[in-house]
């Protein structure tokens, strides 16, 4: 099946990033969001992103002109009627996803594949409310999608081989690097990352070492670019809490359970870089005290 037109449902950070990836690869791309302000905001950010691509010599202004003319936004779901694939990147809530997919199922042609960018919810469970579970696949992009090439692709229990292959080929045609994972909570990335980060937090909690010593150990000893506590400060402890609670609810793995320190830090306003203090203190964008 030839995929020519791509729909993206949801114009948040992930949706806008995925739309950039698809449009940049030459696909006609339509972003759907019921919130016109969110669409306008995403369009402005997208134009800013491509302006920087021109400044840095990655794309010419002619190329960007063509990309932006092929990339549109709409608050009318009917605009997705010509899509061959629709990637949903709406709020991480099964009911919300089912509601959006039900509408998409009515608006899109029968051959269209639906994909979900979920990071923690079961593909099979989301597919069950899509009206087309055989033509449903997981496509988890990494944040920021426009810069990260990895996509975790998961078939649900009823996904057809033909659908998975078509989505896999499409992913590669976008210039991304797909990896196949089973439909398991957290897939690969979050399944390993969330408990690992929780373990690092528990070490702080237990007084094993200071955050800077833990981060220095992992960077020096294993060559990681960033330590787990620096990463948590960047992601934000509030975001970590949401993802970890979703993972724990699915796995009941004790390592996925959020350490009590996280909630105490959130209550104290220590969310990370965005509030100026998390495991480290920040002044502007520079880190000190590490």
């Amino acid at each position: 099946m030839a995929i020519k037109t791509v729909g993206v449902a949801g114009s948040g950070t992930m949706g806008a990033g995925i739309a950039i990836v698809a449009a940049r690869a030459g696909f006609r791309t339509i972003v759907y969001d019921t919130n016109a302000d969110a669409l306008a905001r995403a369009r402005k950010q997208t134009e800013g992103f491509f302006a920087k691509s021109v400044e840095r010599g990655k794309l010419t202004s002619d190329q960007v002109g063509k990309i932006l003319s092929d990339l549109s936004g709409s608050a009318d779901i009917g605009a997705l009627a010509a899509c061959d694939i629709v990637i949903e990147a709406v709020f991480e809530d099964l009911k919300v996803k089912h509601a959006v997919l039900g509408e998409l199922n009515r608006a899109c042609p029968p051959h269209a594949i639906f994909a979900s960018n979920t990071s923690t919810i079961s593909i099979t469970e989301i597919a069950a409310g899509s009206g087309r579970p055989e033509r449903f696949v997981g496509m988890h992009f990494c944040l920021p999608a426009q810069l990260m090439r990895l996509v975790e692709m998961s078939p649900g229990l009823r996904t057809s081989e033909e659908t998975f292959q078509a989505a896999w080929d499409f992913c590669k045609a976008m210039g991304q690097i797909p990896v196949k994972t089973r439909d398991n909570p957290g897939f690969i990335l979050n399944y390993f990352l969330i408990p690992f980060n929780n373990d690092a937090i528990r070490m702080v909690e237990a007084g094993v070492a200071e955050p800077a010593d833990i981060d220095r150990a992992i960077k020096t000893g294993l060559g990681y670019a960033m330590g787990p506590l620096e990463l948590l400060d960047l992601v934000g402890l509030d975001t970590h809490l949401l993802v970890a609670e979703a993972l724990y609810a699915s796995t009941h793995d004790p390592r996925a359970a959020v350490p009590a320190l996280v909630k105490r830090m959130i209550a104290a306003g220590k969310l990370g870089r965005k509030t100026g203090e998390g495991f480290y203190k920040y002044q502007g964008s520079a880190m000190f005290g590490a």
């Binding site: 690097i177 990896v179 690969i188 070492a209 200071e210 010593d213 220095r216 150990a217 992992i218 294993l222």
Partner: protein, 215 residues
Amino acid sequence: MDYQIIRAGKSRSFADDHPLIAGGKDGGQVVVVVGADAGAAFSRLKEIGAKTAVLVELGTECLGAHTGENRGEEGSNVLGFSRFRLGDAPASDLVELVCQPRTTLAAIDAARAVFERHGLKVALCGDFAGRILDRLIRPYYNAALRRLDEGLATASDMDTTLKLGLGYPEGPIELLERTGIAHHYDVTQALYEAYGDPAYAPARRARVAKQRQKN
């Protein structure tokens, strides 16, 4: 500040020709006891209280096994250390420096200076089994081996995901293959015994690798 080296068997942290070993001087204010038998050699040392710091190379044991402990108020001029090393891979530049609740700041500063003088980086930690890195990474390696068995993804897709998605220099499976899965068994089994936490229980593939090493 000069330091004195006392050798006690083969060291996992420092080869005999490492500049830190060669740079030792008799009568230094810091004593560095290196080797697999460092703890026993430490127990034979006399008048250690006069030194600024005494550094004892640790294996999987806690520093307290050599110094003794006293209701959470232990600590002196004696520190433990271990240079982080995965299996048979070369030792990294990381030195985990182990202190106790009442370890003197002067001893910590002197220890840090000895290692940093030779380009090593120091992470200070409390006296816990596995120190920082083994305590943190072994559950992750066990989970990766278990998930490989359970068919979450192929080994190469798991490695690719963790490298591309998180910027890790190496995926968990290729890292364990390079450094020795049987060595992972040894480390994680010791931590399992120390903590009793199932996350440290050696994964099936680690047990198999250990069994094959014995055969």
